[in-house]
Amino acid sequence: MTSCVSPRSPRPWTDLLADTADIRQSSDVIAEMRKIMRLPVGARVAVAMSGGVDSSAVAALLVEAGYEVFGLTARLYDVDPTLIGRAGTCCAPEDARDARSVAWQLGIRHYTLDEREVFARVVIDRFVADYDRGDTPNPCVECNRTLKFEVLVQEARALGAQALATGHYARLDLDEHGQPVLRRGVDPQKDQSYFLHPLSPEVGKFVRFPLGTWQKAQVRGHAARLGVPVANKRESMDVCFVAASTPADFVAGHRGARPGAIVDLAGTQLGRHAGIAGFAVGQRHGLGLPPQHPEAPPWYVVDKRPDGTIVVGPHEALRATTVQLRDLSWVGAEPPVDTELLLQVRHRGKPVPARIQQSADGVVTLAVLDDLFAAGRGQSGVLFDGDRVLGGGIISDASRAVA
């Protein structure tokens, strides 16, 4: 058993305060929270609580700001008991317990929703199927789209909440027309806007991200100030439900490893591999190919085909000149064709300039205007205007410079 948060136990939080950049006066923080919430004091608000420091801090800050706060935790999967306590989990049973302990400390109500069936269907099964097909899906985006922006939002509304707040690091405001504006979080190390792009305009008016302007260190400082346990809490990272293994092993465990051929761009077979899930577009090492001439350029994985074939090529073959996105959603109004914007294809990836060439039926084709390498099918392509998230979709095709 992992240890639950012990109520009101002494914490050496002065250590944490020492390296905290800025603990603002609580009156300023209260004013800031009320501005972000856009709700009168006493309004009922739901907080999506994962059991981690960030969402716990949000709950504590909203209690301090005078709202009637209750916590919601979605229980998403059952964890193999031998894996409990490993880093990187988020919504497993012990996290729900941690969230409840925090709620009790704050004197607020907390409810755990049984969403295991929805999560298995919408997130895990799709992840496994996509991975097995050679795509590189992003389950965190699907989880936000379905679990956070649908299930938790619906539950919060049913329970009479005026808003649902989460601990995400992204800024969310309304413009002068009352339309939501989603921007990157201020802390570049924590910015989660990439994962939040499935936010619809309607849901964007209901959801709040109170930590968008904060640094992680500030959050920890205020959490400690408000009596939220912050010590030894793991950061939720990576794909939560494969925490103790790798995506490749997880997929292989569900579908069985699918061996196949390794071919070059011309289709010549260079070797065999043990399972497609073990490879990522852009990967250079561990291909198991016979040594080449010392002067020859190294091989990179440039494509994973649904039939299990892995295509390798020189680095230049990873360059994408156009990118097609499917299942596109926009946070605000859809920008017209020819608009220049920034395209980001992975969480910590560098945004590159791109231009909308074509847009129809939720599918957008973009001309890439700068170096973009290893844009794999299934990854999320998120479109920015500066630090503002315009929308995003799933990469369905990325044409290569070298064919």
């Binding site: 229980r75 409840r100 539950e155």
Partner: protein, 378 residues
């Protein structure tokens, strides 16, 4: 706070609180000790035992204090089976709407190769008597049927069921957890051999219950030790026993409140028609139910969601087997009544207690229309 979850736990009665507080100040010793404080503890314990025994019409039999009705159920089943299995093959007959603690015993015994026959119920949760009689045509060791169904509030003809079981040569155990204070309990008249009892469904503290045994009924203990006549080892929960006895002192008052609770329950059901409930589970003839339970469903709304929404309005109710740790299994009782999984998830249980007032029911009815509309819309 409006508390309508009596079948989970009743609020502690004032009389119980006073009895336990007084005992806490006076009694501390081990009832097995020879010295004066030990003898005083023993006197309190035996007095508590006698009061519980008499309150359930069990004179002549024996009360074995346990940690609650779940342990009493386990002690009854394992105790009888272990006693009998030396000489005979074991076969058990029970119902499909028992408390989950019995369900766990069924699973465990089946794994161990014991034949357990589960008698079905009809859509209102009434036992299928034809199937019951059929099940008793084969030699049976133990029959175990609950007196009052916790999710539906229906009660079962225990006297008749016990007679049929005895005719088949079986020992009859009754899980009477929800019965005291709701129906007149007379264990000797019912002619049962063993009965499980609990304190916290009648204003007593949780953590204490008892197994009643008819005079001469032999069982084997689960926990060995000299206490409780060798049937339940471990130093006795004296304060709990005193609390349980105080709670069982008040059974007559609780029973007298039942017609009033039935009227309030009926008013609740009538009043909520404005919210267009899908229906009522376990809606049976008045003489077959206690009258303090309303298990209701709204089409397309998960019962746990209604429970959460009511909780935010400071109204406490339950939904089937929904549990705070976040697993929401459909109620096995509603599934046994032939409901679909979705319908079984939709069940919301209001259970009234002797302190429930007219004003509380009126307050619930004021909140309910808007709340159900909101749950429907989202």
């Amino acid at each position: 706070m409006i508390y309508l979850d009596a079948n989970a736990t009743t609020p502690l009665s004032q009389h119980v609180k006073e009895a336990m507080t007084a005992a806490m100040a006076q009694v501390f010793a081990n009832p097995s000790s020879l010295h004066a404080p030990g003898q005083m503890a023993r006197a309190h314990l035996e007095q508590a035992r006698a009061r519980v025994l008499n309150a359930v019409g069990g004179a002549g039999g024996k009360i074995v204090f346990t940690s609650g009705a779940t342990e009493a159920n386990a002690l009854a089943w394992h105790g009888v089976i272990t006693e009998r299995r030396v000489k005979h093959a074991v076969r058990v007959v029970t119902s499909a709407v028992e408390h989950p603690s019995i369900g766990e015993l069924v699973k465990k015994l089946r794994v161990g190769g014991v034949e357990v026959v589960v008698v079905p119920v009809d859509r209102q949760g009434r036992l299928n008597l034809t199937a019951y009689a059929e099940a008793l045509r084969e030699p049976t060791t133990l029959v175990s049927i609950l007196a009052v169904q916790n999710e539906l509030g229906g009660h079962y003809p225990i006297g008749e069921l016990a007679r049929m079981a005895h005719a088949a040569g079986a020992v009859f155990h009754c899980d009477a957890t929800q019965a005291p204070g709701r129906i007149a309990v007379d264990l000797n008249a019912w002619d049962v051999d063993l009965a499980s009892l609990s304190a916290h469904k009648v204003g007593g503290p949780p953590g204490i219950g008892a197994l009643w045994l008819r005079r001469g009924q032999q069982i084997q203990p689960l926990v060995a030790g000299h206490q409780e006549d060798g049937l339940r080892g471990g130093t006795e929960n004296l304060l709990g026993a005193i609390g349980m006895a105080a709670a069982f002192d008040e059974l007559a008052e609780r029973l007298a409140a039942m017609p009033r609770l039935r009227a309030l329950r009926d008013r609740l059901w009538q009043g909520m028609q404005a919210t267009e409930p899908l229906g009522r589970h376990g809606d049976v003839l008045a003489e077959e139910e206690t009258g303090h339970v309303l298990n209701v469903a709204w089409s397309g709304i998960d019962g746990a969601r209604v429970v959460r929404a009511l909780d935010l309005e400071n109204i406490c109710v339950s939904a089937g087997a929904a549990c705070a740790s976040g697993t929401h299994e459909p109620s096995h009782v509603l599934v046994a009544c032939g409901q679909s999984v979705a319908q079984a998830r939709a069940g919301v249980r209001f259970s009234l207690h002797s302190g429930t007032t007219e004003a509380e029911i009126a307050a619930v009815l004021r909140v309910l229309p808007g709340l159900i509309a909101r749950c429907r819309a989202s």
